[in-house]
């Protein structure tokens, strides 16, 4: 099989979308890795849903015994305090989200449609699974960036005509960064912007349900 981007490389490419001084929320999985692959010279403040803004690096497992339970992120992982960090209550935290104050949310996805519909909170029926804060992030962040694998474990496209899994939000995604491509989505449909080294647009299209527009040069992904 041809090499695809590693999760770390996907995260690094997604992180290139961030600018110095941005306030950003990172979802579980690949998105969380973005914190470790920021472009050189930029500082980003990370937001955790329960009310932390601008926290420091995660505590490595070898040091968990020295951590502090009141300093955990939205995924319950320990972080170190950082100068300039601020706490707020969860109401104020979601006011930030819903009120479009976060510069970006980088989230994972189960499925994304070409129009930018997102399904990312359950693999099963709607009644199980945890919604968490994803519905609020999806409608609230100024930009919603999806960082994910291009296809499922079983090789099925995750970029689809219409989402089959329960939706998180309609028409909310701006950009998909996968291990094969960078794709802009939205009301005018998906547009292929970048592809993984060694891959052709036709090969990416074959693993993508909706037809990708290819107006404009398709570049190779860099990270």
């Amino acid at each position: 099989m041809k090499p695809r981007l590693t999760p770390e490389q996907v995260a690094a490419r997604a992180a290139l979308e961030l600018k110095d001084g941005d306030y950003v929320n990172l979802g579980f999985g690949i998105p969380n890795l973005c914190a470790s692959y920021l472009p050189a010279g930029i500082q980003v403040a990370f937001h955790a849903e329960h009310g932390v803004l601008g926290y420091g690096p995660l505590v490595p497992e070898s040091e968990w015994g020295t951590a502090d339970f009141d300093y955990v992120d939205a995924g319950m992982r320990f972080f170190r305090p950082r100068p300039g960090m601020a706490f707020c209550d969860m109401g104020q935290s979601f006011d930030m989200i819903r009120g479009r104050h976060l510069d970006a949310a980088i989230l994972g996805a189960v499925e994304v449609s070409g129009a930018g519909d997102l399904a990312n909170w359950t693999f099963g029926v709607a009644e199980s699974g945890g919604i968490g804060g994803s519905m609020d992030l999806a409608v609230g962040a100024k930009r919603v960036i999806i960082a994910m694998e291009h296809v499922t474990k079983h090789g099925k496209p995750k970029i689809v005509e219409h989402c089959n899994y329960p939706l998180t939000a309609k028409a909310c995604v701006d950009l998909i960064v996968s291990d094969l491509a960078v794709i802009e989505v939205g009301p005018t449909g998906p547009r292929l912007k970048e592809i993984a080294p060694g891959w052709t647009p036709e090969e990416v299209q074959a693993l993508t349900e909706p037809t990708l527009r290819m107006d404009g040069a398709v570049k190779e992904i860099r990270w």
């Binding site: 955790a48 849903e49 329960h50 009310g51 932390v52 505590v59 490595p60 497992e61 070898s62 040091e63 968990w64 015994g65 020295t66 951590a67 502090d68 339970f69 009141d70 300093y71 955990v72 319950m76 320990f78 170190r80 706490f87 707020c88 209550d89 969860m90 109401g91 935290s93 979601f94 989200i97 819903r98 519909d117 359950t122 099963g124 709607a126 009644e127 199980s128 699974g129 945890g130 919604i131 968490g132 804060g133 994803s134 519905m135 609020d136 999806a138 409608v139 609230g140 329960p166 939706l167 998180t168 939000a169 309609k170």
Partner: protein, 255 residues
């Protein structure tokens, strides 16, 4: 109304009846009123309406901390659950709460974190309802009024939430019930404190009036009916937290 100071968790919840509604925050070990939850479990109060963000056990990495008391441990006592995270199906496991939901013993109202906290805030702030942009086109819009407002976007009408009791975990309190929190343990505690008829706060330390800086008080005493200090060896005490952390590696820097 005057804030009353208690020394026993049992006494603090003596009038908590079967069928009452309870709001409680939990972010793992952080922000969780473990002693009050433990007392409620001991009291075996039945048919609770439980309003909480997550119903998962506390954990560090893949280690579950079974000796930390969270709403997860109350599953058998819950008749109705309002939450954004009912269990651990994301791990492919069925939790006791999810099993009760599947068996129809507990009714589930699934909401997102953001809608949940704003509904609680509305309940505490006397707002009759509000229009939320979250949830359009999803399962949470079921049964709700949908409406296009002035900006051309669709919104759902969400209704306020209140409860009979609120269990609050704060860091320090003065004897008037003014509260300050610590780190992410603040969470939804200050919002829940506004929306419950009887608000009971457990805190690391109760100090004299005047010892908290007026500029830094997060929950004013007006919201706090009962106050109780976590004992030195109590659940969630500094000592208990150190004991929990001692199970994990400590090489490298000390925090």
């Amino acid at each position: 109304m005057k804030t009353r100071i208690y020394t026993s968790f049992e006494e603090t919840i003596e009038d908590f009846p079967d069928g009452a509604s309870l709001m409680v925050f939990c972010w793992g070990v952080s922000g969780t009123p473990q002693n009050l939850l433990h007392a409620l479990k001991q009291k075996a109060v039945k048919d609770l309406t439980l309003i909480t963000h997550n119903v998962v056990p506390a954990s560090v990495g893949k280690s579950v901390l079974w000796d930390v008391v969270t709403p997860f441990m109350l599953a058998d006592q819950v008749k109705k659950l309002v939450t954004a995270w009912p269990g651990m199906s994301y791990l492919g496991m069925e939790s006791p709460m999810e099993r009760r939901i599947r068996e129809g013993k507990t009714e589930l109202e699934l909401v997102s974190h953001g809608i949940l906290v704003e509904r609680i805030r509305a309940g505490g702030a006397g707002i009759g309802g509000f229009y939320s942009p979250a949830g359009i086109g999803t399962v949470v819009e079921r049964g709700k009024e949908k409406r296009v407002l002035d900006d051309g976007r669709e919104y759902l009408l969400e209704k306020p939430l209140t409860a009979d009791f609120g269990f609050i975990r704060a860091h320090r309190a003065d004897k008037l019930g003014n509260l300050v929190y610590r780190g992410g343990g603040r969470g939804c505690n200050p919002v829940m404190a506004t929306a419950c008829r009887t608000v009971i706060a457990e805190v690391d330390e109760i100090v004299e009036v005047g010892e908290l800086d007026a500029e830094t008080i997060i929950t004013p005493g007006i919201y706090v009916n009962r106050l109780v200090q976590v004992p030195e060896r109590g659940l969630g005490s500094a000592r208990h937290r150190r004991e929990l952390l001692s199970r994990f590696p400590t090489q490298g820097q000390k925090s």
